[in-house]
Amino acid sequence: MSTSISSERETFRLSMLLNDKRYRSYTFQAFALFVLICVVAYLGKNLVENLAAAGLNISYGFLGEASGYDINQRLIEYSSQSSHLRAAFVGILNTLLVAFLGCITATILGITAGILRLSNNWIVAKLMSIYVEIFRNVPVLIWILIINSIFLAVLPQPRAFKGENPEASMLWDMFAFTGRGIYAPKPLFLEGSVVVVGTFILSILAIFALRRYARHKLYSEGRLINTLWPSLALFVIPTVLIFYALGSPIGLEYPELKGFNFKGGIYARGGLISLWFALSIYTGAFIAEVVRAGILSVNEGQTEAAAALGLRPNFVMNLVVLPQALRVIVPPLISFYLNITKNSSLALAVGYMDITGTLGGITLNQTGRAIEAILLLMLFYLIISLGISAIMNIYNRSIMLKER
């Protein structure tokens, strides 16, 4: 590049770095970079010197030592004898779990509320405005605490299920809703369950194939095939048939009250539920606004044209408006997903042990390795956030306006 410039006409002079428009921006950027490097170097030197003066050093050796503490929600095998590194992994999985659940429910809530807010029904539209304004304008930590307190206050404690005439009873003897969380039956996979699961997966694939076929028919012949009932039938019938044909190979483990708590079954802790619910409704309110903006961004002519073609309102929304609105909706949606992930670090408020609670909380405290733990924590959130944006950017590219 430089050769083409210099060979043009005049030779390069030093003053051109400031006076010449072609070089000026580079000069400023180089200067800014130089200042940044100096500041970083100063902070780095400060850190190393002060740590040395205090007789400390940076070391990640603590990750291999036994953690010594227990964690309530463990998605992988873990005990107080496991290493700090494993405790961090338990925390990472807990963070990912609540972030994943939160993203899904926030999206469903947000899209529903966003569309309904534009409803012609005055009451529905106003109700949705109230939802959005209330949940968007109160900090999420407060929502987490409010939901957790309501959860604790409204639902009975496990001890209420005890005795001859218990104050509370289980729903169909399967579900127990307690202030400490919700217990549900857990599937037990016995011999032959592989076939049932396999059938189920095959019928899901068949549903996709059916829908594809229906779309193909619609585009090529203009014939609209109703896929709802065949899909439902495919979803239920083969699996149920195989299930009974093989003599019910999948059983259920029911939660049972033993001592202080229920045992067995799937246990969704109150902390997880409060956090998940709070993050969902809070972020859902933001997503609703983005969805509304996206829909409004689609020219009204599109709706009118679709209506003129005789499409029913829900087809207008699903086939014409939403696909175009998605181009506006998806980019901000990425940052809401990132927000859910990062806001999940408020988990300790409800005793949910996420990565901030394990690595950035107990491990940091017990080992005193604050700088090391915080650096790792930042690295983790950075990787997760970049991962989410990468996935969402791929999706964004797939729904972008394709110019042919």
Binding site: L47, N50, A54, D70, A153, Q157, N261, N365, A370, M378
Partner: protein, 340 residues
């Protein structure tokens, strides 16, 4: 992006390693104020009263040091710290000393580079349960599967894991950030059991509406020597804090009280008392303080025993007996090296 992480981390590190080299005693004198790290509120130990004035057993140590160094027991900036933030606050120089029922452990002393200057309360970890559960022992098989509220970032977390491991039973920890919040959760029924130092349990229980509905289990599962601490490497400052605490203890041993201190300071025929109160010798000078330092420290709220009785003793709602925290002359563990 990468740069941003480093930048942030280094900023954190820069804060964390702030002022380590300067002499803390000189800093405090120049500032005219002692920055004392305390808890966010434990009844009897550290809690603001109705007028917003900090009161308590740990607070009294801060006040004694401020009186000894600055001649003003109110020249203190109380910095409330949580179990999680306390060590960072101290290491970074945000506070000059930490008086926050902190357990003296080897790793905190050696690895975290702190200097525990003594023990002002010998404690042990205990359990509190609702009387209605019928539990009478923390070792009974009935407690299998119990949900335990626990203050995160404390030694109690590790002791609890060890205890349940040793009795071979399962439990469900419910980590909470502060003691007050743990009580809220415990009262709401989110947990069946609350564990922390027995002194704090007694304090919390005393503050409940119906203390008789809650029982402290007899087991003590750990040793928790609680004491004030300062940063490693500033021995002059550590000496000042250490000997201020020792002065309070020695005062009780010698019978110096807030009532008779003016009288005693004029000079007595007990040489150690004279050295303590400055009418003889140059102990204050050795600490870079004046001769009256210990007299001022004791004058604030009296000797160790008076402070104990006024804040957490049997006459207060906390109602703790002296027990192992009695003077060594009464068969307890409270003991000070001689003032000589």
């Amino acid at each position: 992006m990468k740069k941003t992480i480093f930048f942030g981390a280094l900023a954190v590190a820069g804060l964390a390693a702030g002022i380590v080299s300067a002499g803390t005693l000189d800093d405090v004198k120049a500032r005219g104020k002692l920055n004392c790290g305390v808890s966010t509120g434990v009844p009897g130990f550290a809690q603001p009263d109705a007028n917003g004035v900090w009161q308590g057993f740990d607070i009294a140590v801060c006040r004694a040091v401020a009186a000894a160094v600055l001649n003003d027991s109110d020249a203190i900036e109380f910095v409330p710290t949580t179990g999680k933030t306390r060590f960072t606050s101290l290491a970074s120089g945000e506070i000059d000393m930490l008086a926050r029922n902190t357990t003296w452990t080897m790793s905190r002393d050696v690895d975290l580079k702190f200097e525990f200057i003594g023990v002002n309360y010998y404690d042990g970890q205990g359990f509190m349960v609702k009387a209605s559960t019928g539990i009478t022992s923390a070792k009974s098989p009935d407690i299998d599967g119990v949900t335990v509220c626990i203050q995160t970032g404390t030694t109690t977390e590790l002791n609890l894991a060890d205890h349940f491991r040793s009795i071979g039973m399962s439990y469900e920890p419910l980590p909470v950030e502060s003691g007050a919040e743990a009580v809220t959760q415990y009262m709401a029924g989110a947990c069946d059991m609350f564990t922390t130092d027995r002194s704090a349990l007694a304090a919390r229980r005393a503050n409940m509406e119906t203390p008789e509905d809650h029982v402290l289990l007899p087991e003590i599962i750990s040793k928790e020597p609680l004491g004030p601490l300062v940063r490693h490497g500033d021995n002059d400052w550590a000496d000042v804090v250490r000997w201020t605490l020792n002065a309070l203890i020695t005062a009780e041993e010698l019978g110096v009280t807030s009532a008779n201190i003016e009288e005693m300071a004029k000079g007595t025929n007990n040489p150690e008392m004279n050295r303590l109160l400055g009418s003889e010798g140059n102990l204050g000078e050795m600490l870079n303080l004046d001769a009256d330092w210990a007299k001022r420290a004791i004058s604030v709220a009296g000797n160790y025993g008076e402070i104990f009785e006024a804040n957490i003793g049997s006459g207060t709602i906390i109602g703790l007996a002296r027990g192992v925290n009695a003077m060594w002359t009464d068969g307890g563990l409270i003991y000070s090296p001689p003032f000589r």
